[in-house]
Subunit: 440 residues, 2 copies
Amino acid sequence: MRLSRYFLPLLKETPAEAQIVSHRLMLRAGLIRQEAAGIYAWLPLGIRVLNKIKEIVHEEMNRAGAIEILMPTLQSADLWRESGRYEAYGKEMLRIKDRHDRELLYGPTNEEMVTEIFRGYVRSYKSLPLNLYHTQWKFRDEVRPRFGVMRGREFLMKDAYSFDIDKEAARKSYNRMYVAYLRTFARMGLKSIPMRAETGPIGGDLSHEFIVLADTGESQVFCHSDLLDMPIPGEDTDFDGDLEPIIKSRTDLYAATEDVHDQDRFEAEVPEGKRLSARGIEVGQVFYFGTKYSAPMKAVVAGPDGKEVPVEMGSYGIGVSRLVGAIIEASHDEAGIIWPEPVAPFDVALINLKSGDAATDAACEDIYARLTKAGVEVLYDDTDERPGAKFASMELIGIPHQLIVGPRGLKAGVVEVKNRATGAKEELSMDAAVNRFAPA
Amino acid sequence: MRLSRYFLPLLKETPAEAQIVSHRLMLRAGLIRQEAAGIYAWLPLGIRVLNKIKEIVHEEMNRAGAIEILMPTLQSADLWRESGRYEAYGKEMLRIKDRHDRELLYGPTNEEMVTEIFRGYVRSYKSLPLNLYHTQWKFRDEVRPRFGVMRGREFLMKDAYSFDIDKEAARKSYNRMYVAYLRTFARMGLKSIPMRAETGPIGGDLSHEFIVLADTGESQVFCHSDLLDMPIPGEDTDFDGDLEPIIKSRTDLYAATEDVHDQDRFEAEVPEGKRLSARGIEVGQVFYFGTKYSAPMKAVVAGPDGKEVPVEMGSYGIGVSRLVGAIIEASHDEAGIIWPEPVAPFDVALINLKSGDAATDAACEDIYARLTKAGVEVLYDDTDERPGAKFASMELIGIPHQLIVGPRGLKAGVVEVKNRATGAKEELSMDAAVNRFAPA
């Protein structure tokens, strides 16, 4: 993408309303624009990151055997009356009347709807296990939306729902999502720690929150520090196999959010030098809630003995839009964002230090063409801004690698490659630089 | 994907509420489920098609130089008061109040919001031309939603918006989208005909609807029949070049929807043997509306002479969810859907005629593994249904190619390959069959 043809509206000043660094940087780097309280438009750089995060989430869902669907944003109020949550949900639910005065709502979550879909078709345990997921916009009418996409009102969530014949099978489904989540967040460059958590309005008796540590995190968390360096299950993980050892290696170690924290247990179970107390950001949560929805909504299947039983369910959420903020909270410096490569909006920033200089332009065009042809995503700054301004912009938007081309270097036969995260610079020949990102 | 682990809820009976063939087939083939009037959930097979259509639309938008963004579903009523459309839009607009009694609405289209985004950042003609697009769920509160996704209330639309310094540049932007649309629909296996159309509530003085012919189309259309066989601009089309000849070759020939049809002109301009009068489905529409939104909303840029002028705009919509229905209307038979390859939910249906038979299972597993490894999307029917039921299901869901494996064929060293569209069958060796879909 040529910057001269792109839409990258960077802000010089830090917007006064932004209280946390991810919100400030998302506004300054032209990722989002607020359209109403807690409601954002995603600008070109922002949607690229959001799409990459969604893609990773979906790949790991598919790997774990979950199946994609897509439920609508609006739901019928009657559906929520069946579960008893319509009245219970309170003012966070956005209630709507259509032109015929029928009651709708903007879905804050989808347990009811997916249960309705399930009961509409599935009759036998032979169709189980089943796990259906979707990524769709949700709305929660927060009293005071703030922190940008970290606590917005309209937000993008991936939510998966598992259906099993009994508790044992449901536990296996839970484990599959637990392991998928470990992989998902690790692939985005995040260290996530699963922690026992309250189940809240979803209900149920087993839940883990996946927490990313960051100073600006919304909640206090307590855990064994070894949890920071556990191995991540590999691509070859057998999701049909026994995942319990992976889970147990983590649940054996103390980890809890402040809601369920037990200081005495913490001190008894964790050696003093390993006690980690920190701020954390929730990026996902998994729930097992049994028949909480299937029983009242009569989502039953015939078991092997022919008897009908309500299906055992769990739900599994990932805050897809919130992750954009969480990643920035976990990865930035004074100059701006530092994107982990898998979620970066572009792979390489190509900086032309002297647009208009024939040799420099030609070298940049050549590099741009070769990298683009190889499938490398390049943002090419071909504008006539000063080099200083170009550097500052690229530092701010945080593309992992900068490839800097100027007349002086070209005379010496070199271009400069800079790593955004480490700041390390190297001089390479043009061919070597191209080869670095697009190996022949 | 193994069918035994998939969620493919097929209906034996045709639902009584479905009046047109695409709606019937979408319900029967397990593509969608109605959740409220005009509001649908997309089941696994359906979301795969929807994703493929969206992907093609985005590729062609990007090729034509448009830039992806993503605007939220909910919008502030105040924004629409600026353009004067809040009161004018009528009951099709879903109006919402949040917990603080602030007026929101579920966006039926995004001219106002994108104009607000533009004016927030762009100051100079040097940033133009600019074309921003997104694909987002919209809501129009139809009095009587019907025909499934063809006239739903919550629907997925791609809408692009162009910004230019003057009419001449705006016309070029319009032409780019016109050509992109020709390519987009052709890639989905559709013959689309651009027709002059009314501008309706969007406004402006130039508009074309892209119409797909189908007996169940919602409107009568009239055109020169040569328009059915015009060449489609290639992948190498230069969108920076002069597209006028491509446009002119079409606009020279009479084509109009019933709203703007002029029978006298039709008869005067079109030789009798070339007069086509047929039913059509609108799958996209392009508008040039100049300063209709930029003037009242003060989206102005400084021109080369330093004077501020309101920006010239156009908008360009494609009904992404509607296209699923439109493609089925245009491509089906008595037995079910016939997906054009580029939008098919799977490339190949692998049918095991005798699940449980060791040799047949082994052959199927081998084929499945080899095709999947090569990136071919295979739906493998590994269930123990009867062959007749398996055939009927695969005909219904319309996967373009069937690969049929049974004990008798295997003894003779062959498997059968069947083309869903033509019904043509071939016997091939296993290797030749695999090679057909995954050339070595």
